[in-house]
Structure formats: structure tokens, C-alpha cells
């Protein structure tokens, strides 16, 4: 691996300052699972690694006035096993527990999981695509069975994170620290489509750190779950996934948030499906209609049409299961 200096800042402010220094290539690192692979593949060649693991207090789950706050460095294993997250925000515990393998979940952090780079094989193998600073997306005419059916263009990567759709479904807020201070934005505003900047997946600046994730107080009757469909039984990214959060009043769905993963360059919300479900009893018929509506507007590529019936089916089944 390329040589570099590992720096252990003591505070977020120090980390931000280190990341922004001029004349050096810097990279922020949490768990390291994705970042070290990128360095080994020479997709990035940092002079300085800014290691967040030594900043105290960034790996805690706390509660403030009903709101649950998850430090950016909290591991996926911790989140998947946390009693509060499991009981109130099941969709997030499910999603964190669905990531990779035990080893990945023990090292991987929530901030790293939502800001990991795409796993498109062209990008990871160093092709000069948009993500590697080039001006094309090789998947359009190439091997695109795992690529986007929604929101593609000019890049057709899919966002690989399991926790991202869950956080959008829960209407989480992301607290970000940068040189000018802090800002807090909605999870849905954090992820950015390729039409905005095809080289990036989110709005985090190079010298910003995702410090904390805030989950709004769980509304009464919140039922949520995450379903991940894989092309083998374990240890890979979703080919299609769905995060569902329903506010139920007895049999009736008062409000719904339904977000797909693995099908678009960002977590893909389904506002039309959400509107169909609001104020209704979720019968098998309504779930089937929602499934059918979930693929409206999809634009599959040559080799990923199989994602359409798959998306329909898992939206239908997951809604039925949550409402039951």
C-alpha cells in the first residue's frame, strides 16, 4: 500500500482543519473497511489519513427529548444490537444487521456506511468513469446487471448503503461539521443524484465530517422494517432492497414512507406509493397495487430488467408483512 501519515485528531474541529490543509491529499477514515480498499486499489492516494476513531464520544447512542442521536463512529454491529434502535426504529436495526459480514459490521461505522463509495465494478477496477474523474459511464453499454433502474444519468451506479434507505424512511437528520461551523440537513438532502455532480454521491464537502445522525422521536404506532434481496444468501450488496416505515392506528396506515435501495444512485423514495397507503387499511390488494406502482417511471438498462418484478414483489410482500 502507498505510504501515508495517519493522524489522530482529538476533536472534530481538529479533524476538519486537518482535512482542509492545503498542498496535501487528505482522506477521512472511520472504520476503514472501504477506505483502505480504495487506497490499496490506488483509486485514492492520500498523503494524510485523518483517523476519527480517536475522537472521544463519537461512537455513542444517546437520547434527548425523545430524539435518538447516533454518533457517526457508532459501529453497525452496535446499532443492529441496540435495544432502543431495535424496539423503536426496527428498520435501522434490520438494515445495519444486513450489511456485509460480522467482521464488516464490527469495524464499519454508520457515517462510513452512508458515505461509502459505489461498488460498480468499472469504478472499483479503475476505469476512467465519472466516479474516477472521467467523462463517461461504462455501464450504459457494458455489464449493467447491478446498475440503476431509477434516477440514472449520466452515471448509473446504485447507492450501495443498506442504512441509507432506512435513515431516509425514518426522516433522520445528519449533523455535519465543517470549517464554517455546523449544519444539520435531512437524510434525503444528504444524498445527491449524479445529475448534480456525477463524480459524487452526497453533499459532504472534502473538509466536512458527518458527526451525528438524529432520529426523530418515534411516532405512536410506528412499524418499520428493511428487506434486502441478494443474488446469493449472504455477504453482498442489495440487488433491490426496501425500507418501510408506517405509522399505524390499529389497522389503518396514517402515514407511510417507502424507500428503495440498490436501484438508484441515491436512496429512492416512492412518494406515489406513500400517498396510496396513507389513510388506508393495508390489504393484500392495496399492497399489490403499491407494488405495481413502485416501478412506475423505471428505466432499466439492457441487463437489469429483472429488477422490475423483483421490486414489485418485495414492496408488496414487505408492506403486507409490516401491516400484518
Amino acid at each position: 500500500m502507498k505510504t501515508f501519515t495517519n493522524v489522530n485528531p482529538k476533536s472534530v474541529q481538529e479533524a476538519v482543519k486537518l482535512l482542509g490543509q492545503q498542498g496535501k491529499t487528505t482522506a477521512v477514515v472511520g472504520g476503514g473497511s472501504d477506505l483502505l480498499g480504495m487506497v490499496k486499489e490506488r483509486l485514492i492516494q492520500p498523503d494524510i489519513l485523518v483517523n476519527l476513531k480517536t475522537i472521544p464520544g463519537l461512537d455513542k447512542i444517546t437520547e434527548q427529548g425523545g430524539e435518538v442521536r447516533i454518533g457517526g463512529l457508532t459501529t453497525l454491529a452496535t446499532i443492529s444490537q441496540d435495544p432502543t434502535i431495535r424496539s423503536r426504529y426496527k428498520v435501522l436495526a434490520d438494515a445495519a444487521g444486513a450489511v456485509g459480514t460480522p467482521q464488516i459490521r464490527n469495524a464499519g461505522t454508520i457515517a462510513g456506511n452512508v458515505s461509502q463509495r459505489p461498488w460498480c465494478w468499472y469504478f472499483r477496477n479503475g476505469f476512467p468513469c465519472f466516479k474516477n474523474g472521467g467523462k463517461t459511464c461504462f455501464s450504459i453499454a457494458g455489464e449493467n446487471e447491478f446498475h440503476a433502474i431509477f434516477g440514472g444519468g449520466p452515471s448509473y451506479i446504485v447507492h450501495p448503503s443498506d442504512t441509507a434507505p432506512a435513515l431516509v424512511a425514518l426522516d433522520a437528520k445528519f449533523r455535519i461539521a465543517g470549517p464554517a461551523g455546523e449544519r444539520t440537513i435531512a437524510a434525503s438532502e444528504f444524498f445527491a443524484p449524479p445529475s448534480k455532480d456525477p463524480s459524487r454521491e452526497n453533499v459532504l464537502a472534502h473538509d466536512e465530517v458527518l458527526v451525528e445522525i438524529h432520529l426523530p422521536a418515534a411516532p405512536r404506532g410506528l412499524r418499520s422494517t428493511y428487506h434486502k434481496e441478494l443474488d446469493r444468501e449472504s455477504w453482498t450488496h442489495a440487488i433491490v432492497s426496501v425500507a418501510v416505515a408506517l405509522e399505524m392506528d390499529r389497522d389503518f396506515c396514517k402515514k407511510a414512507r417507502v424507500v428503495l435501495g440498490g436501484v438508484a444512485p441515491i436512496p429512492w423514495r416512492l412518494p406515489k406509493v406513500e400517498a396510496m397507503l396513507a389513510g388506508k387499511r393495508i390489504t393484500p390488494e392495496l399492497a399489490a397495487q403499491a407494488g405495481a406502482a413502485s416501478i412506475e417511471g423505471a428505466q432499466p438498462l439492457a441487463k437489469n430488467k429483472y429488477k422490475l418484478p423483483l421490486t414489485k414483489a418485495i414492496v408488496k410482500r414487505t408492506l403486507t408483512a409490516v401491516a400484518a
Partner: protein, 215 residues
């Protein structure tokens, strides 16, 4: 590791560029990182070619240890190349195969995906730390009894994942064992024997849960 384009694509370049050659790449990299003829151990501190180094303290298989590491060494490189603990294997070197699995503060991690410098103040258990006073850990014995290892390359990683699983869940179901060991690939495909071995070790008694130096 080079991706320089050449008019003629050699097999070597093709293999290195596509990931099938990751093992080859992993063995080439450390050589490339050294100046010609340089001996890492004897390198003069502060020489222009010297990579950044950091002094760290950690516990390895129960013994406290202090040393100076190069910042870019992965944990598995630190273990194998500088501590002589070659039981942890480098398979993919990308956090995918599990052959390098060790326990970091009691939790299983891929040691290829950690930096050595990050273990400052932490405790590491490797495969070499499982046997105690010349006696195999019950898991190791169960792996032997159930013909777990075939070629054996993945075995130390499989054992460390099994160890982590039983430390946190001393009596798992077969399904929980399978889920707990999804991060370890066995290309001989001897998964069922590994699962049987872990279940047998778990049934054998409570000593498994706190065996070795991991307690």
C-alpha cells in the same frame, strides 16, 4: 499493481487489473514500497525515503507489547511480517475472504482492513492465542474431530470467527452459526463440517466460551 496502458495487454496486467490477481498484488506491494536494497528494520529514522512511523502499545495474545510501526502497515502485515504471527493469512487483502480474521478487543475484524497503527491501546487475539498451556482450545479440537480443515488456508480465520461467535453466544443454533461465519469463505466448500464443529464445541461445555486468552 501498475495499470499503465500498454499496446499489448499481457496476462499479468489483465489479471492484476481485474481483481483475480489480488493475491499476487498483495505479495508484490511490500517490495515496491521499499527503496532498492533497503532493510526496513535498519532504516535510519528520518531518512528522506523513510515512511512515517508511530510508536504504539498494545496487547497481543495476552502479552503487552510496544513497538514502532510504519503508518501504512495493515494489521495483518504487522502480525505476519513484524511479529512472526503467520497463522493469520492474507487471502484477498480486501476484507472479503476472512482468512485474516482476528479479535480486536473481543470482536472479530478483518486484520487486512485495519491499520497496525490503529491498535494502539487495544487488545488483539490471533489464532496463535487460542491454545492455552499447550492445550488446544475446544474449538480447535472440534475442528480436527469434524474434519473442518481441507486445504487449511481459511481455517485460522474460520476459528477466529467461531471463537467470536461463541464468546458472545455460547449456545448458538445451526442457523446462528452459519450467520456468524458468513464473513469467512472456504473455497474447498467445507462449510457444513465447520458448522458441525462449532455446534459440537458449543455443546461440549462452558469452557469454550471463555477459553484461550480471549477472556
Amino acid at each position: 499493481m501498475s495499470r499503465k496502458s500498454s499496446s499489448k495487454i499481457s496476462r499479468r496486467h489483465f489479471v492484476e487489473g481485474t481483481g483475480a490477481g489480488l493475491v499476487a498484488a498483495a505479495t508484490v506491494a511490500p517490495l515496491k514500497g521499499q527503496a532498492p536494497g533497503a532493510d526496513v528494520k535498519n532504516r535510519t529514522q528520518g531518512a528522506p525515503s523513510s515512511p512515517p512511523r508511530t510508536k504504539i502499545k498494545f496487547t497481543i495474545n495476552g502479552a503487552e507489547r510496544g513497538m514502532e510501526v510504519e503508518d501504512h502497515w495493515t494489521l495483518v502485515e504487522l502480525l505476519r511480517d513484524h511479529l512472526g504471527l503467520t497463522g493469520s493469512k492474507i487471502g484477498c487483502d480486501r476484507g472479503e475472504c476472512g482468512a485474516c480474521t482476528v479479535l480486536l478487543d473481543g470482536k472479530s475484524v478483518y486484520s487486512c482492513s485495519q491499520l497496525g497503527v490503529w491498535i494502539d491501546g487495544k487488545s488483539i487475539i490471533t489464532i496463535e492465542g487460542l491454545a492455552k498451556n499447550g492445550r488446544l482450545d475446544p474449538l480447535q479440537q472440534a475442528f480436527i474431530d469434524h474434519d473442518g480443515p481441507q486445504c487449511g488456508f481459511c481455517t485460522s480465520g474460520q476459528l477466529m470467527s467461531a471463537k467470536a461467535l461463541l464468546m458472545h453466544n455460547p449456545h448458538p443454533s445451526a442457523e446462528e452459526v452459519r450467520a456468524g461465519m458468513t464473513g469467512n469463505i472456504c473455497r474447498c466448500s467445507n462449510y457444513n463440517h465447520y458448522v458441525e464443529a462449532v455446534l459440537a464445541a458449543s455443546a461440549a461445555g462452558p469452557s469454550t466460551g471463555s477459553g484461550g486468552n480471549a477472556a
